[in-house]
């Protein structure tokens, strides 16, 4: 047993993706906590952006249910409109953004719209929000998803948010300015695009998980990078920062 939960490990793995001084499209739930941890540890000068029209330095002090809640506005760096904040993204001024999803495929395309044919779907998911814009325009895209075979699929039914499309140079040829997915953080592992095809490879195994188990739970023939790592356990400093941010222990169980 570890002295941290899987969720906590994911948050800390996500926090490590934020570099100091970067402008980050944060989003809700896990990434907002990751942003807070990064600010308290290695990235004290990171800037958080929320598509509803909020920019913050310090993370909000009170619990947020949505990015539009009062605590996210009190003491903000800027409260404005969506076009002003997402315009920074469109203008190429955002270093990285977080997105989640219901389905992701081996070229890191994400579906949050339709399961089945979009004209006659078996399941209608809520839709895109701002995720396609973040996926298209941010310099790096950090993806967080639960690692299950039905979520990590060979090919998504509908590309809501583009990764590397059909692989190789397809993303560039489609005219997408942002660099695309740099990392996929799951509850079992970290995947990264690797090689000329930009196919997602297993890059790091979380403590307590095995390569075999991860491959079994992936919907395509998951390859491994040559220098496969074990995800470093959270340090005391990182866990202390997380417990400062997550006062109520929301992510602890």
């Amino acid at each position: 047993m570890h002295d941290y939960s899987t969720q906590e490990l994911m948050i800390i793995a996500a926090a490590r993706q934020i570099n100091d001084g970067e402008r980050i499209f944060v989003g809700m739930r896990l990434p907002i906590t990751a942003y807070g941890v990064a600010r308290l540890t290695h990235a004290p000068n990171a800037v958080g952006l929320f598509e509803s029209g909020v920019s913050r330095y310090e993370p909000a002090e009170d619990m947020l249910y949505t990015m539009c809640d009062g605590p996210n506005q009190l003491g903000a760096a800027w409260t404005t409109g969506l076009i002003q904040i997402m315009g920074l993204l469109s203008g190429g001024r955002v270093h990285a953004g977080f997105v989640g999803g219901a389905e992701i495929d081996r070229f890191a395309n994400i579906n949050t719209s339709y399961i089945g044919d979009y004209e006659n779907p078996t399941t209608k998911l809520p839709g895109s929000g701002g995720a396609p814009d973040i996926a298209a325009m941010a310099e790096r895209l950090i993806i967080i998803i639960n690692h299950q075979k039905h979520r990590l699929v060979e090919k998504v039914d509908y590309i809501t948010s583009p990764g590397f499309l059909t692989g190789g140079d397809a993303r560039k040829e489609a005219g997408l300015p942002g660099g695309g997915p740099s990392v996929v953080i799951t509850d079992r592992a970290i995947l990264r695009p690797y090689g000329p095809e930009n196919e997602l490879h297993l890059a790091s195994v979380h403590p307590g998980h095995t390569e075999e188990e991860i491959k079994e739970n992936t919907g395509w023939d998951l390859k491994t990078v040559p220098d496969l790592e074990e995800t470093p356990s959270p340090s005391k400093e990182e866990l202390d920062a997380l417990h400062t941010i997550d006062k109520e222990g929301f992510w602890r169980s």
Binding site: T79, G81, L82, Y114, P121, G127, G129, I159
Partner: protein, 316 residues
């Protein structure tokens, strides 16, 4: 009595929400019910549109939380133009799923956008641009599932440089909740506003729902805080907590339990009908809704103060 168009520009526009909706929102209208994303959603208008049995509406918004789901379940909607429909803290919108997956209570047409592309479509609608060329939805199947969006090559580029052309959106009516307005519709809003300004300016008619109605001098003392000037507003309705259960900055907290309750209670169509009867159809107006909420609503009232520093507009 209100009339369509701008005949009431300089008049007192205070009226009941029921009158405003009766006069300004015919069946078949395209409407924006809040465009701030998850705050300041005019649920009071959602309820009144449902009570008046409006039909064939096109709901246009990036995200209006459960407001859109309620309208769909009540049978008011034939089209949804937006980026996201669901229950932000609860998960999926059950009525939206029933309509799109099974055609219950009837089929709806979904026009897919992302948040930035719908925002820029409002921007184009507001400022007279026929379309906007965007990079931010390239690679997304939104371009396939929404046939209104066309692909082109940037004419200023020498080589291949794809752009997506998104046509202007001009809604018939925009409803917005504001913290305070005067009786002419000059409105102060603070906190994040999402697409409120672009969607409202793009709309043909604006209905302002003010948490507080103040003297015109209060608004004109701080014109930089005016998001929508009164000359574009058709009606002003004074309704406290019209945003419930969404939050209104500095006025009301989010009623998160209400969103969860809605999620649980609307899983089956018959349960949704029961929910709708209890919370909308059996209540004559928003005052009755507030009375029904009672102490629950009082607990959401923001009592504290975190006042901004005054801004000096003096000329000498």
């Amino acid at each position: 009595m209100l009339t369509l168009g701008d005949k009431t520009i300089n008049g007192d526009k205070l009226c009941s929400l029921a009158d405003a909706i009766r006069d300004l929102v015919p069946d078949g209208s395209s409407i924006v019910l809040g465009a701030a994303l998850e705050n300041a959603i005019p649920f009071a208008a959602t309820h009144e549109l449902i009570r008046q049995g409006k039909r064939n509406l096109n709901m246009i918004a990036p995200i209006s939380d459960i407001s859109t789901d309620m309208m769909i379940g009540a049978g008011c909607v034939t089209e949804v133009t937006g980026a996201w429909v669901g229950n932000v803290s609860g998960g999926m919108g059950h009525n939206f799923r029933r309509a799109t997956e099974k055609g219950e209570p009837h089929q709806i047409k979904v026009h897919d956008y992302s948040n930035f592309s719908i925002g820029m479509a409002f921007f184009a609608g507001a400022y007279g641009l026929p379309y906007v060329p965007l990079k931010s939805i390239l690679g997304s199947d939104i371009i396939k599932s929404n046939p209104r969006i066309k692909m082109a090559n940037n004419p200023f580029s020498d080589g291949p440089d794809p752009v997506a052309l998104v046509p202007a959106l001009k809604p018939d009516v925009a409803f917005l909740v504001v913290q305070r307005a005067d009786r002419f519709g000059n409105s102060h809003i603070w906190g994040s506003t999402g697409l409120t300004q672009e969607a409202s300016i793009a709309a043909n008619r604006i209905i302002v729902i003010a948490d507080e109605v103040v003297e015109p001098e209060v608004i004109s003392s701080d014109p930089s805080r005016v998001l929508i000037p009164g000359f574009g507003v058709n009606a002003v309705c004074h309704i406290p907590a019209a945003n419930h259960p969404s939050p209104l900055i500095g006025k009301w907290k989010r009623d998160n339990a209400f969103f969860h309750h809605y999620h649980k209670e609307t899983r089956e169509p018959e349960n949704f009908q029961r929910w709708l009867k209890e919370w909308v159809l059996d209540l004559p107006d928003h005052e009755a809704y507030r009375t029904k909420l009672g102490g629950e609503l009082e607990e959401l009232r923001i009592e504290g103060e975190a006042l901004s520093a005054p801004a000096n507009y003096a000329v000498e």
